[in-house]
């Protein structure tokens, strides 16, 4: 053990020495630790990291942060389990001397790292983890979250069907916290936009193991007027193909949470069902703010790939971090937390405020209808739903968040 550790430190020092360029010698870089599921959730996490690197280049080319110090991210795989992630967070804080940590994809990993940050009294900027608990029932002083949480995205979906008349709803969601809480929020909210609406069947296939035939059959049997779909990834592809062949989606309104995100729509290809109302990211059609077009152009030029939602998020996170570091008087955790609360940042997705009340940012999402164009799925009739209109109310936050 001991010997390996020593050798590794020597290796680290050698690596740093070769990396150190003259420009860096003038001002010590500010380091941020980023841990994410780069290995297991590569479809999301690699475009996310790519965009972060793109944004870092832009920030540093413009003179860095805090009066000329370069901004540097230390990327680590979180092993996709809370146990590994907490160890990695520890490594980032103690060995890499990062000012604070950011990242995490899976909800259980995000919650474990958030509680670790709380215990160690260090700032944690959760970027992707969606669970409401992170900023509500298990929120803490040191944890902030960037992406719109499950509740906000579900609410965007529900608002999109205001005025429709479908009364009988089916819910299909992956059997874990994200799916369960999306389904629960949906059941709570749907009656407020369609009076008399009820959920007639709920299906909860195991994540990554949907038995699509049986699930589609069970939904069809309940004869719903409309379907709320929370499946994503491989489960979504299997469900959509089975549903297409069996005619499950014909003459039915379908809502798809996250279905329009490029990560999940690209694999659907020419089987993308038309007319679903979804949250997503129509990157090729977004005109405002102007910086978004520049981002898309730069991303495509650098990586020879189209941006994903992860890319957008990665870029926004770096913009928020750079803004935070420019506003904060110092790198002490308290100073960072004070500066981050109610911090307003102009990002490529518009103005984003980190609400001080519950540490949830107002980053929004795009809501639109799916359509087929040249054998691939696109969004049409979309609009940008600003997150600030869909957040938990102040009263709900005060009840849920521990004091």
């Amino acid at each position: 053990m001991t010997r390996i550790t020593l050798r590794r430190r020597a290796l680290g020092a050698a690596a740093l020495a070769t990396l150190a360029r003259p420009a860096f010698a003038q001002a010590a870089p500010i380091r941020v630790g980023e841990l994410n599921s780069y290995s297991r959730m590569a479809a999301f996490a690699v475009p996310y990291r790519n965009a972060m690197q793109l944004a870092l280049e832009a920030v540093n080319a413009a003179g860095g942060v805090m009066g000329g110090r370069p901004l540097e991210f230390v990327f680590r795989d979180d092993g996709s389990t809370p146990g590994d992630a907490v160890r990695v967070a520890e490594e980032l804080l103690t060995r890499e001397n990062v000012s604070f940590i950011a990242g995490t994809f899976l909800s259980n990993v995000g919650l474990a790292v958030a509680d670790f940050a709380n215990q160690k009294q260090r700032l944690f900027l959760a970027t992707e983890a969606l669970t409401d608990a992170l900023t509500m029932s298990q929120g803490n002083r040191y944890t902030f979250r960037v992406r719109p949480n499950t509740y906000m995205q579900t609410r965007m979906m529900v608002e999109a069907v205001r005025g429709k008349t479908q009364k009988r709803w089916a819910v299909v969601a992956p059997n874990y916290e994200y799916g369960q809480s999306a389904a629960a929020s949906f059941k709570r909210l749907i009656g407020t936009v369609i009076p008399g609406a009820e959920v007639v069947t709920e299906q909860f296939p195991a994540l990554g193991r949907v038995d699509a035939g049986a699930t589609v059959g069970a939904i069809a049997q309940a004869r719903p007027d409309a379907i709320f779909n929370v499946l994503f990834g491989p489960d979504l592809v299997a469900f959509v193909r089975e549903g297409n062949t069996r005619g499950l989606f014909e003459r039915r309104l379908v809502l798809g949470l996250l279905t329009g995100e490029p990560e999940y729509m690209i694999p659907l290809g020419d089987e993308t069902p038309e007319g679903w109302i979804v949250t997503g990211y129509p990157w090729e059609q977004i005109e405002t703010p102007a910086s978004h077009k520049a981002f898309v152009a730069a991303y495509r030029a650098k990586f020879n790939d189209t941006p994903r939602l992860g890319s957008l998020l990665g870029y926004v996170v770096v913009q928020m971090v750079a803004n935070l570091l420019n506003k904060a008087p110092g790198l002490e955790t308290d100073a960072l937390i004070t500066a981050l609360s109610d911090l307003e940042t102009e990002t490529i997705a518009g103005k984003v405020t980190m609400r001080g009340l519950d540490h949830q940012s107002t980053l929004g999402a795009w809501v639109g209808e799916t359509a087929l164009q040249n054998g691939r799925g696109v969004l049409r009739n979309w609009r940008f739903a600003d997150g600030k209109d869909y957040m938990f109310s102040e009263a709900e936050v005060l009840v849920a968040r521990p004091r």
Binding site: M1, I4, Y38, S39, A42, A112, D115, G213, A214, T245
Partner: protein
Amino acid sequence: MELDFVLIQALSGLASASSLFVIASGLTIVFGVTRIVNFAHGSFYMLGAYAAVTIVPWLLEFDRSPTLFFAGVIASALVVGMLGVVMEVLLLRRIYKVPELFQLLATFGVVLIVQDLVLLAWGPVDIAGPRAPGLRHGVYILDQRFPAYELFLIFVGPAVLALLWLLMHRTRFGVLIRAATQDREMVGALGVNQAMLFTGTLFLGAALAGLGGALQIPRVSANAHMDLSVITEAFVVTVIGGMGSVPGAFLAALLIGLLQAFGVLVFPKITLVLAFLLMAVVLVVKPWGLLGKPDVASGRAVLPEGILDPRPLDRFGKVLAGVAVLALLALPLLDDYSVKVGTEVLIFALAAFSLNFLVGNGGIVSFGHAAYFGLGAYGAGMLVTKAGLSMEPALLAAPIAGGAAAALFGFFVVRLSGIYLAMLTMAFAQIAYAVVFQWVEVTGGDNGIVGVWPSRWAASREVYLYLTAALSIAAILFLTRVIRAPFGATLRAARDSAARADAIGIDVRTHRWLGFILAGAAAGLAGGLYAFSKGSIDPTLLSIPLSVDFLSMILLGGIQSVFGPLAGAAAFHAVKDQLMPLTDHWRLLLGLAIIAMVLAFPRGLAGLRRRAA
């Protein structure tokens, strides 16, 4: 329920069953002949799907005909079969002489490698394959639409079964497979070229897995997670059917497919655990599965695998152990992070030691040891967060929780032996996992519970290291004492020959049961210590990957040695900790490291010393 709906749902179930059977038949044949629990079978399934989404669209460019589609599917299966041959020749052939469990570890290394190679070769984006030409539409059955492709799939299973029957009964290769499944030693003694037989079997097994994967491309996208999602289910089918029995696998696949199709109507959340519940019930009632037969060799006196002579350490061993303990205690001189890693090594060392107490000393191979580790963690964690107790009583409760769970599950487990026993431990672990996962109100579901932190006096990393060291080392010394006591010797006697131990008046079952409880309690203590070192508990602490990690640790260390697992735990955790920050593809490196260690130290790290001596 209307009749037409019942019929359609049954057809859906049959289609799933048929797909499942194609995959499981390969696994059961490979196990029957080679006795290898082939974790890489799921990887072959995944490779079959990836090969098909590459080959089939290319063929369909020439002509969108069903013939070319199925030619592509068959070609994919053959390609994967060849990969099976590669694995046999390059890897398995070198380790047939080492303990059977070791081969399991090697195949697990292959799983890790294939996961990353797939990402490197095909990228992280899921790839949806083309639909089968001519079978894209739905067929109307009693006014309900049913996919034509699934109707076709329903016939694939019986067709594969018939072909396998012909192969087994009408060809010499098949006869040899059946003979080897019944009595491998005898087949070898009769002069059959075992190397060729094993290579051929691996080809057949891998090709069937590849066929299973390739046939799925019109239904599911090829993705990098499909290996692990299918392998547990394939294990369940082979075990319920009886390991080595192809008709048994067919029957079991039918049962599971239909149960699944109708189960989702009654309990929509049951898919997580249904198959494992069924497996546990079948094994409790029929210890050899539905159509399996007791292993002929099981009555034979064989050279036991495991701890032979738990004599006290020699001088060199004592010095080594002393240096290791001193090095651990001196970690705070280094830096904070090494203290953290050292704490985890100690915890895993205790968990691994408790597992080897079962495997090495008792011959009870548990594939679900993480259950007791995880339940210990939950026992401790929930006392702190829900009952508001402090760390000290919670740490007392951890071994009680682990031991209680082991007492409950062990009562059924110790009635079985060999691979069936191992599979039952896995089923129970999976049931415990599902309970923890599903019972959101109490356990926090898959999000788990946070806020499990040590008392104030033990909050610093250094103090917690010393606390962990004191408790782990005390528990390890206690278990060592048990191994050397008459109780330990009795367990070894039962391991080497249950029949003879029984004949001299030993109550084998009760002794095994007590041993199982003791090991569960020790694992529970390790789990409790782990919870407080992380501050949170969640279902991954009971999951199969963690159980496999524990197995890897003891195998790397050497199951013949009392203290080897400790070295194995340290080596495994240190290697993982070193590799993870290096690259996204750390699983590839970890897999290579595992295989390198398997090839270099086929008796574990402790075996290295014995060979030198």
